[in-house]
């Protein structure tokens, strides 16, 4: 059970502030960050994950269970990332993708097979990822991240590329899975429907009154 804190985080470029946020996400909580495009949502995520372009100036700390990870390189932060594309490595099979993130040495194939079964993907281990459906890809991407045993999850517009029929289903599946795993989760979106599925919503960028977009806190 871990907590994620953004402590007085402020990202600016050329002296102009893009994002200012101070929030704490508790274990199993899903926080949606909403704002128009260009509001710096993705920039904020890349700061938390450790990929911020040096062109930006950033202050404030990122804490995981009170441990400051702000100076750590991305690969040492153990913060999982999901993008709007599943980004399954095309040169690896389904199992290859899962084992890429899997920690530990013993029984790797066995663990991958079991994990696939929990996602309703039993027997998919040797499939080429290009042959999966959109929903299956999303599940494999989520599983790959979970198997790397992250301490927190960041989702960058994760559902925006799924078509409407699939969207609600995948969203519920992913978010419930993250809640039950006890991970603090942040996802950014500009879609009201996505945001409503979260436990809490924070608005950044232009004021919501001007946008006239539901929901306003």
């Amino acid at each position: 059970m871990t907590r994620l804190q953004m402590e007085a985080v402020r990202i600016s470029m050329g002296g102009q502030t893009l994002v200012e946020i101070d929030e704490e996400v508790s274990p199993g909580e899903v926080l949606a960050i909403m704002g128009p495009s260009g509001a710096g949502k993705s920039t904020l995520l890349s700061y938390i994950a450790g990929f911020l372009d040096p062109a930006f100036d950033a202050t404030g700390r990122i804490l995981i269970n009170d441990e400051d990870v702000t100076r750590k390189p991305a690969e040492a932060r153990r913060i999982g990332l999901l993008f709007q594309d599943p980004l399954l490595f095309p040169h690896l099979s389904v199992a290859g993708n899962l084992m890429f993130g899997l920690t530990g040495r013993a029984g790797r194939r066995q663990r991958v097979a079991e994990a696939l079964a929990t996602m309703g993907l039993a027997g998919f281990a040797d499939r080429d990822t290009a042959t999966l459906s959109g929903g299956q890809k999303a599940r494999v991407a989520l599983l790959r991240t979970l198997l790397s045993e992250p301490n927190a999850m960041l989702l960058d517009e994760p559902f925006s590329k799924l078509d409407l029929s699939l969207r609600t289903e995948v969203r519920a599946f992913v978010l419930n899975r993250l809640r039950s795993s006890g991970l603090p989760t942040i996802f950014v979106t500009h879609d009201g429907g996505d945001a409503e599925a979260a436990d809490r919503i924070v608005l950044i960028g232009t004021s919501c009154a001007k946008r006239g977009n539901p929901p306003c806190e």
Binding site: A76, F83, D128
Partner: protein, 560 residues
Amino acid sequence: MLRIAPTVAVALLTVPIAVGLLAVLLPSFGYLPVIGGTELTFDPWRRLFAQPALAKSIVVSLTSGLFTTAVALAAVCLFIAGSSRTRIYSWFRRLISPLLSVPHAAAAFGFAFLVAPSGLLARTFSPWATGWERPPDILIVHDPWGLTMMVGLVAKEIPFLMLMCFAALPQIEPARRVTLARSLGYAPAAAWFKTVFPGLYPLIRLPVYAVIAYASSTVDVALILGPTNPPTVSVAVIRWLNDPDLSMRFMASAGAVLQLIITVAAIAIWWGLEVVVRILGRRWLENGDRSSLRGISPIWGAGFMALSAAAIFLGLSGLAISSLAGFWRFPEILPAAFTLRAWERSGPAIAETIWTSLLLGGIAAAVSLAVVTGALENEVRRHRRAGHTAMLLLYLPLIVPQTAFLLGMVFSIELAGVRPGFWPVVFSHIVFVLPYVYLSLSEPYRRLDPRWIQVALSLGTSPARAFWRVRLPLLMMPFLAAFAIGLAVSVGLYLPTLLIGAGRVATVTTEAVALSSGGDRRIIGVWALVQAFVPAFGFTIALLVPRFLWRNRRGMREIR
């Protein structure tokens, strides 16, 4: 290691050129202690300018640089302006790589065989059109004003400029510009030249200068197609350098510096023309005349392209026929008998030189690829993109004439007591291979979606492992292509191999060119063909390996 990669790349590009130029400048003023030159004097220059017909050599070298570039650039622009988004366009686009992979010397041999008095063209039109029963006694190849050489160079430089345009065009969205201009009532050609060309030219300026430099200073093409008495300046320099009389080296040095001046002058003249075109062009751009360039038909550009491709491909076919020819009477278009004798006679020597060429090119390409990858990886990890200066440095070996700095490199290597041979040649090849490897790899490297690496890192992978396990496989195709291009460049290099190897390193190119004066057309055919197909070997591997590796990975077939 990564941090020093850009420095290593810059050093590999600049140090040999700087040292080479310095080491040729001093002897040109009489200073070369090894052979007794200890005082600074104008003597070498006086001797150089006392050479009979030097002026003619200068004129031919200078004209070649400007004429070749102007015609090749005009052809490429006419083609793109007229044929964009047609089937011929995409068809020719696919021909570019094979055309480019043919070394200059092989293309020149093929062209010579095409246009010679007893060549394929003359045979095709004789005797029914020309009335010739015997090869006419006219000097076509080796003509005194180098016209055949210039035309041959045009055919070979067109694919290069074409590739550079193809690489640059997507940055300026040509289709939207042309559509807009045509909706305002301009003819297609006018729309392209008024809206696309002004944006395109600045992006291809350095490649254009590289063509000027190459055409004004080439040695191998000039030996095969160019004038002999007097030869071009670069060829004269190599003759003097190889003179048994060592004191000729002073004059050779002065000649090498003269070659540098000629190339710089050619580029300066071209630059002056750019200014004139810009001033006159502005008025033309703004005159609003909807009738301009209405008469330009797409056929022109397409015709130029077809001629360029035909000159190279037909030339190679001609070489293939002649390498197998038995008795072959003029004006018969095909030999009366075919024989493998020329191949059998050259066989053992060919195997050995192919091996040397592949080894040399393989090492030069591998080292270049490693250094370039290091520099690019450093760039993406630090979010720092190489600037304009880096591009200039990259083009340095392509713009400074080879004759000028290689001569100095030879002197410095002798001075350092290094024995000429395989490894010094590898080193000299890297100078020329590295820019091409960089140019071909940098775009795909930077274009790869950064999220792939971000995902890998967020899964706890180290940056090094993310490179080997994610970036390398995803970019396998561009990596192999860059390697193949590097190999092809190395295989085609003539002067560095000849000079730095002091004649002791025999590659398919040096052997083929050495035979050009010998005159047995069958043997020349054999060697030129071998030379043309060794680079193709690399490209075939680059094409087949990913197909085999990813045969069960559909997602790897789309270019990312």
